[in-house]
């Protein structure tokens, strides 16, 4: 019962375009978002990431006898706010349910979740996909958003791959057990045609931005605080009935969501072409190869024996509370994009670059700190994106704040720094040397523009290049470049080149 049922081995993959010429995909996405609360869903243990094993546990999340769960008010508020942002209806009354299963990642032998009474139902999220014919919109219907708790982290010891097969035993850290999760479930997404992988990606991306804009989670996909289960099925072009779906679990990046859908379409088309059936099963995404492999089969459907949790009383948010939360929702990411595109005068391409770099929030914050939008955009999209790529971190994870970037931009505008010096200041800030002004001071990076210091360098340059000076006196002002170069060299690049040129021409009695 451990292994998937397969019939007659693996079929050939079908090239994506070929598959899409004969089959229509239907998608479904279940996304888990770990909330950014300070404490767990049903107890007061800390949720801080990266703590030593089993240091953030208590009798409740360890399921010790006699302990009772109590609901985290902020988690409920976060669930309602996300539901409202997705245009869901908020259930006026609902209960938690026990999802029973035998596995050591939950010491209770059940996970507290919501079953037939989710807190939010019937919403939608509009997403945009770039196509060769321009942007195209899709509406993704949301079936439900429900609250549940995360599980502990199991590691399998003794197996070759860290998987359960061949493992001698498992070791478990319960720090994560009980951290609040929201699960967002879409209705089946149809009529995407060959844009299916892009629609899936755009949906997760938009959902991530929405969650982030609400401040209910920091949504770090690499830490697993947003993870996706991707359901894909195929039906022959023109068919009325959907095919059998596979469910690829725990897909952890936007790119992986897109690849997983694409791979499943090619794989399932191969089976159908070969006259085999698609097995309803759980699959795992392989980051390296971009493929999926069979996990446990759902042939013996999981029997979770859900029932209302008698330890918890119903959640019944008042209409007043819901309306209060609705009125306080922030501007939606899609509205923010439209507004900044107009305010900053961006082309569609410029906006897309900003979105793809995940830089809208950073640039907006930099503009709010006083920088012109063009400068802020250039710094984040060019110099800072390059640094992020080099050090393999997300842009937002760079050790520089929007306020610091705005200060660097201001120093350039004031003439204190050239662009070249500004990059060195950014180096300093990223290296932890402090605020931009402190880095300028400590590294002695200020542009030499006061006339006494610059004047001395100019005089030296003229004295050292009498031939050039003579040419300039004779009216060949273009030759001044050579003397500016000498000044820049003498000041190690810290001179204001424009000012140096003016001084040179002035000293030699020539009109600029």
């Amino acid at each position: 019962m451990a292994n998937a049922v397969t019939n007659s081995g693996a079929a050939e993959l079908v090239a994506y375009d070929d598959a899409m010429s004969r089959y229509q995909p239907v998608l479904g996405l279940e996304t888990h978002v770990e909330l950014g609360t300070g404490s767990k869903m049903f107890c007061s243990c800390s949720t801080a990431f990266g703590a030593a094993p089993n240091t953030q546990v208590c009798p409740v999340c360890l399921a010790l006898p006699g302990s009772l769960p109590v609901v985290n008010a902020t988690a409920v508020e976060s669930a309602i706010r996300l539901g409202l942002a997705l245009d869901c209806s908020i259930a006026p009354w609902g209960r938690f349910a026990r999802k029973n299963y035998f596995y050591p990642d939950m010491p209770k032998n059940y996970q507290i979740s919501q079953y037939d009474e989710p807190i939010c139902v019937d919403g939608h999220l509009d997403v945009t996909v770039d196509t060769p014919d321009g942007p195209r919109g899709f509406r993704v219907e949301i079936e439900r958003v429900h609250m549940e708790e995360d599980t502990g982290k199991t590691s399998h010891v003794g197996g070759a791959t860290g998987r359960i097969h061949g493992a001698q035993y498992s070791i478990v850290d319960y720090n994560r057990a009980g951290i609040p999760l929201l699960e967002i479930v879409t209705r089946p997404i149809e009529h995407t045609g060959d844009l299916a992988p892009l629609v899936a990606r755009a949906y997760v991306s938009e959902l991530r931005d929405l969650v982030r804009s609400l401040g209910v989670s920091d949504v770090r996909m690499e830490e697993g605080s947003l993870r996706c289960d991707v359901n894909v099925s195929l039906m022959p072009e023109g068919a009325a009935e959907w095919g059998t779906r596979s469910e690829t679990k725990n897909v952890n990046s936007l790119r992986s969501v897109e690849r997983a859908v694409r791979y499943e379409i090619s794989r399932q088309a191969g089976r159908l072409d070969a006259g085999q059936r698609v097995v309803q099963e759980t699959r795992h995404f392989q980051e390296n190869s971009g493929s999926t492999v069979s996990g446990r089969s759902k042939e013996e459907a999981q029997d979770y024996r859900y029932f209302p949790d008698p330890d918890l009383v119903p959640v019944a948010p008042s209409a007043e509370w819901v309306e209060e939360l609705r009125a306080a929702l922030p501007e939606r990411p899609s509205a923010v994009r439209r507004r900044i595109q107009a305010e900053w005068g961006l082309s569609d391409d410029e906006l897309r670059d900003l979105v793809n770099a995940d830089a809208i929030g950073l640039v907006t914050a930099t503009v709010a700190a006083g920088a012109p939008s063009d400068d802020a955009r250039k710094w984040w999209l060019n110099e800072l994106s390059r640094r992020a790529t080099e050090t393999e971190v997300e842009l937002a994870a760079l050790a520089i704040t929007p306020a610091q970037v705005a200060r660097v931009i201001a120093l350039v505008a004031e003439g204190v720094l050239t662009n070249k010096l500004a990059r060195q200041v950014v180096d300093g800030v990223l290296a932890g040397e402090g605020e931009p002004d402190a880095v300028v001071e400590a590294r002695g990076l200020k542009v030499v523009s006061d006339d006494s210091a610059l004047g001395a360098a100019v005089d030296a340059a003229i004295a050292g290049n009498p031939d050039v000076a003579e040419k300039i006196r004779g009216g060949k002002t273009a030759a001044a470049g050579a003397l500016v170069g000498a000044v820049m060299k003498a000041t190690r690049g810290q001179a204001d080149a424009g000012r140096a040129r003016l001084l040179i021409l002035e000293r030699l009695g020539v009109e600029g």
Binding site: M1, A2, T37, G38, S39, C43, S44, C45, S46, T47, A48, A52, P53, N54, T55, V57, C58, P59, L62, L64, V70, V71, N72, A73, T74, A75, V76, W93, N100, F102, Y103, P104, D105, P107, S155, H156, V157, G158, R163, I164, A167, Y169, S170, I171, V172, D173, Y174, T282, G295, R296, D303, R305, F307, P308, P310, L312, V313, V315, A316, P317
Partner: protein
Amino acid sequence: MSAITRDEVAHLARLSRLALREDELDQLAAQLDDIISAVAQVQEVAQGDIPPTSHALPLTNVYRPDEARPGLGPDAALAGAPAVQDQRFRVPQILGEED
């Protein structure tokens, strides 16, 4: 009228990883059936106008503020563990499931 079958007990036992003997399956099927039948009598008085209940107390919205507090230290947390390795609970491998 038997509501609980022997096969259902075997299925539940498998889900709970309980190894039951043949004679235990028969015995428990009969006992569970008695319990269910007894509880089912409630349905005779609770007609459609009485909503199903899951809780004895007429309470809703019992919340706590989102404030983190220290829990057990790892030593206390692991004191009841069947075995410990690397400050983690060490448990037998579970067959039939995959992480």
